[in-house]
Symmetry: C2
Subunit: 513 residues, 2 copies
């Protein structure tokens, strides 16, 4: 086969790279994802373009860095002129999404060009924008598990309707059942509260959202029959609320959870932004051992559950003889600190936040040479769009795309000019840390460059951070102010400038690429 017939692009949410057994986790078992890694190419050094969820997702879908597409925070609409993965793919095959994207529609620009809301609705515009250009086969644009604070837009209508049909009586069974835990005496508890995370969900495992999305994926593949398809299966787990149904809530006993990866050296001469962030941490409870002891087994249970359902998908593909025709890409939008580095969530640029799993199984002839391999060269989330397009023999719109196709690495071709520098960016202007520092919004930006040896972080108006990844792989010792490292910092500073000078700006014309 010259080219994969079908594409299955699986993304998890908040799945840290090292919480999979194939990536070295010592307790958690993920046999199905491991199977994929054993048969495909496992990228040991893959990174998200941002530790912000919306920014990272927008980079994955547009193939562009965070400050290029501009979606640097939650609810920031994707500019109308940005093309997303489904836009490229849907012309040549059926391209559907099951799950979420976290994208929002640029309504102001639609109105600017004279399209009133009812006109856009007639054209199906908000959906196609939010769904990254994919057919919304089973789609809820925003966080499905965000609970009441997320507002109505986040309700997963399809999931709710199905839950009602199988017997959960509620306007929102996802809120009233799936996100509720049940205590030992049958008492109901808000699953969004971390202290309740250890109890099982008020729902049967087969009725969880992860199970439902997987069922829908099988529905889609069944329906597609012999047609060519591109399916983006975008799970909302293991993200909070940390609620997992039985039996997954009991698989990882408290004593097996490793202690938080943090050091007092991180709090010595702590970088001002890092320090302020620790102080304003909304997930601060995750720094407490008692809370971690409750949350970690659940987080791991959620990962284990994802693995179980991916096994169902792989089996289904195998039974239909589709495994040999389907390119499978498995990844996550970013990680989560869970108490490491004195942080709870995903912020800044520690590997715990921005390093992601990435496994690719390419069934084509060309892919044979590359299989059953670990690839150590660094890759970025923006590399995914060009990878898919090249695998589809579609033209690469180089005036927009800022990444590079991974196909040469996936297919084990000898490439000598692979740059070993990758980058990641954040805008923290809408975070409490910004006002806490008294920063003007426009200065609340940070830019990371990572080489195999160094991680360099540039802040506007603050000293940089620098970590020696060879001698300090846990990033405990910030060399950003060390006089002995001024030359390295200066070199990386120049490398950052070079990267910024090459941003793709002219998204509307092929002429400039």
């Amino acid at each position: 086969m010259q080219q994969p017939k079908n594409f299955l692009f699986v993304m998890c949410d908040h799945l840290r790279w090292d919480f999979l057994s194939c990536y070295g986790h010592r307790v958690l078992r993920t046999p199905n994802i491991d199977w994929l890694a054993q048969n495909g190419v496992r990228f040991s050094h893959a990174f998200a373009q941002s530790s912000d969820t919306a920014a990272s997702r927008a980079s994955i879908y547009t193939g562009r860095t965070a400050f290029s597409h501009g979606v640097t925070g939650a609810s920031i609409p994707v500019p109308l002129s940005e093309w997303t993965l489904g836009d490229y793919v849907r012309d040549v095959m059926r391209a559907a999404i099951i799950g979420r994207t976290d994208l929002a529609t640029d309504r102001a620009s639609l109105e600017r060009i004279g399209l009133k809301q009812h006109q856009t609705r007639l054209n199906g515009i908000p959906e196609s924008q939010n769904s990254a250009g994919f057919e919304p086969y089973e789609f809820a644009s925003r966080r499905n598990g965000g609970g009441a604070t997320q507002g109505g837009e986040s309700e997963p209508e399809g999931y709710n309707a199905w839950l009602r049909s199988v017997g959960y009586p509620s306007d929102s069974p996802s809120r009233d059942y799936a996100q509720v835990t049940v205590g030992p005496d049958g008492e109901l508890m808000d699953g969004a509260e971390l202290r309740n995370a250890g109890f099982p969900a008020r729902i049967r495992e087969g009725h969880s959202e992860t199970a439902f999305l997987t069922d829908r994926a099988l529905d889609f593949i069944r329906e597609a029959e012999d047609d060519r398809w591109f399916l983006h299966l975008s799970y909302s787990k293991p993200d909070a609320p940390f609620v997992v149904p039985a039996p997954f809530h009991t698989l990882y006993a408290e004593e097996k959870v490793r202690p938080a990866k943090r050091s007092l050296s991180e709090r010595t001469d702590q970088h001002p932004v890092f320090a302020a962030l620790s102080e304003t941490e909304t997930d601060a409870p995750l720094l407490e051992d008692e809370v971690r002891a409750i949350v970690m087994p659940t987080y791991m249970g959620l990962v284990r559950q994802l693995d179980y359902h991916l096994g169902r998908v792989f089996t289904f593909l195998r039974e239909r003889d589709l495994l040999t025709q389907t390119m499978i890409v498995f990844t996550s939008n970013h990680g989560i600190n869970l108490g490491d580095h004195w942080l709870g969530g995903h912020e800044l640029f520690h590997d715990t936040s921005i390093r992601i799993p990435l496994i690719v199984l390419d069934p084509s002839e060309a892919g044979r040479a590359g299989r059953r391999r670990v690839e150590h060269r660094p890759v970025e989330a923006i590399d995914l769009v060009p990878t898919f397009l090249e695998a589809l023999n579609l033209p690469l719109p180089q005036h927009r795309l800022e990444g590079r196709s991974l196909l040469p690495l996936i297919r084990g071709e000898s490439t000598t000019d692979w740059s070993m520098v990758i980058g990641s960016e954040i805008d923290f202007s809408t975070q409490p840390v910004c006002s806490n520092l008294g920063l003007p919004a426009r200065d609340a930006r940070a830019f990371m460059l990572r080489t195999p040896k160094w991680k360099y972080i540039h802040y506007l108006g603050y000293r940089p951070q620098l970590f020696d990844l060879e001698n300090d792989p846990d990033e405990f010792r910030d060399l950003g102010a060390e006089p002995g490292h001024s030359e390295v910092r200066s070199e990386l500073h120049q490398a950052l400038l070079e990267r910024l000078l090459r941003r793709r700006g002219s998204v509307t014309s092929m002429a400039h690429h």
Copy 2:
């Protein structure tokens, strides 16, 4: 009056800052523009965001730098998510354009969001995009004077129809009459040929495009009566073709034309890009003294003609008592070398290319203190949108705008924190110089920073250029490779990085500004 009632925003095309008597030209007389300067604020150091026409115009209309809006060359569509001046203004007053914008519509993005061409036409979308959000009162999107090479889109339909109605029999009288010159024996000549530029146009002065656009401006103001209005009067002159009707073709005799401002020192160790550009110069004939002797008087005649017609507008406003209610802004999109620096057109970053006239007359009470003054602090074209918005008491969308309102300067307020650094950018990937140098398109970029003392130009993959503007105001001596200036270059290099780090990326959300 708290706020100007009306706004007249006049822009010329290819009008160099120093070809006006108020800016020090020793031969050319521009009494009406001088009158504006004497009564308003004349900015001695105003600069275009790019020496490329489309890039500079898009910056003027969006208030954003060239690599931020991405319109870095001719025919590159303005991204749908970019707001342009008229979009901001039209909600509070009638906002019309007379003349041209050089903008193109982002059709690919319209199609991506599911809008077929007939649907967009129903919504009037292409026009509103090309016209920078202004009502197309008398509008031709592209170069009106570009002749046959510009294709059908460039035809100024309104002007042509009017010419036919006053007796010029042709499908395109603008092409067949206005751009044709008449030799001493009545022979007709192509005005696009530089050697024909000295003869008068085959048209009466009152039938020239500059006269026509001025007439239409008066029509508009007359029609508007007591309504509030914002008129963007966007002339296509003194740009080529260098054809001017009698009597303006004879006003500046050959002997009064100053010699080209160029030095052999510019060709010593010439910067590789500058050298390659000189070699591929499409306007090379302008380097020859005989050709300059023909073209320069015509260029000056075109400026003089513009001044004459602006006088008509000012008189018209005065007679209707509108001068005291109208804020007038006069500027140009960029300059032109006309043989200076061994260059013909507008390229790179010599002041001859990027320095522009900018004169503002603010009739409000607040403006009184600032009038009759020359302002020496440096300003940029991106400052215009915020200036208009602040003068209108409209909110400043800081998440998009990259310039700063000039109102404090216009109104003579004491501002202590005015940055003296301005910037300009070019993408020359579609120019012959790019292939001539064997450059990949993505490396064909240059970035300029200008302080009162220094001009620093960064190229990708080449050494920088550096000029000492205090000791070498004519920019004859490139210090970009001088060992003695490495510290200054390094400082300006850092300043460039700082500017790039602060680009506005999140155009779709107010949250980040």
